[in-house]
Symmetry: C2
Subunit: 209 residues, 2 copies
């Protein structure tokens, strides 16, 4: 195995370090976050730091970098208290990637993804997305360690493609063709190995699916 | 599409809600966290809430649930300040799942995964894992919103399988056979769609790999 210490990473090439450290946690969730500015301009940007916080009540966390292209999204969330999360499907992952470019106006028109407005939320959804969530801001805090901003939000409404939802509540991400990302720019679809039974000491793991 | 409001989720079946909300963010990273107790007992547990916080310095976040089987891990991290992150490979994802069972002693022996000790870290690594990280606790805080605990740690050392590391610093998770998880119990490997060029307005996205 190849070994790197923190010191060798910090003294080494910045671009190597960025790509390497970004990929260390493994596969990451990929969502397009839709927002609207106070002036009424729609915004869309890809995020890989969206994570589950709790189910009762349904909560989600988003970690925002402080000085990057995603600043518009954070500002809009703080201004309007609302945003949408939209799974990225295999059929539009290149357009999703392209929304990270520094556009002046709305990324929807710029990359050719249709916005969808719903009465339940001020912020726009991605019409083609197989899973769309309306979120409401609960809190935001700046992490002292590096000035990233942790936003915690409540999941207010969910729309999910019929073929992706199983009776037990679990999602079939393979059927929905949901995309996952590694590092900053590498996209993958998933291939199911198995859905496993609840783990108990002395009991063999069973494959349920 | 099928629609759910927060109210309908909260009034509905608890097991449906848990499985559904856990899967909403999409594919999640999957790591085995290795720790050692003050009494010297090794502990190993699967985590899907590990996320990238920053590259300079290299930082990682872990969200711990407050009242679950993973409590041993959190207690050990707080007691010893150290833990390891280990990617889960396709060849041992069932054993990784099984470490979540409520064992009295060490999960390594119980599920048949070999521990690896290294002089750089008190906590044990998973010998077979293609990517192993030694982490040091920086801070922990309880999130008011639902009493989950956010741990922020510094990445001190990384060991990566030679075939998984590219010259530019990016990782080939497909080659390493790293596993990703959806919800609580559904495991997938990744199939690369593409590694894309840096997005700029007016420039077409190129597939680099």
């Amino acid at each position: 195995m190849k070994n790197f210490s923190k010191e060798s990473l910090l003294q080494g090439d910045a671009s190597f370090r960025r790509d390497f450290v970004n990929a260390l946690s493994g596969y990451k969730s990929l969502n397009l976050i839709g927002t609207i500015s106070k002036a009424g301009v729609n915004n869309l940007a890809p995020f890989s730091q969206v994570f589950h916080i709790g189910a009762s009540p349904p909560l989600v966390g988003v970690l925002f970098r402080p000085h990057t292209v995603e600043r518009h999204t954070l500002q809009n969330v703080l201004d309007t208290d609302e945003f949408t999360l939209n799974h990225v499907g295999k059929s539009f992952y290149e357009e999703a990637h392209q929304t990270a470019a520094r556009y002046e106006g709305s990324e929807f028109e710029a990359v050719g993804l249709k916005a969808l407005n719903r009465p339940e939320c001020l912020a726009p959804f991605v019409k083609i997305s197989p899973l769309q969530i309306a979120c409401k801001l609960i809190s935001s805090q700046t992490l002292e360690v590096n000035d990233t901003v942790l936003v915690i939000a409540s999941i207010e409404h969910v729309w999910v493609a019929e073929n992706g939802l199983r009776e037990d509540g679990s999602l079939d991400l393979e059927k929905m063709e949901t995309v996952t990302v590694s590092g900053l720019d590498e996209y993958y679809t998933g291939q199911r190995l198995g859905k496993l039974s609840y783990p108990k000491p002395g009991k063999d793991v069973e494959k349920l699916l």
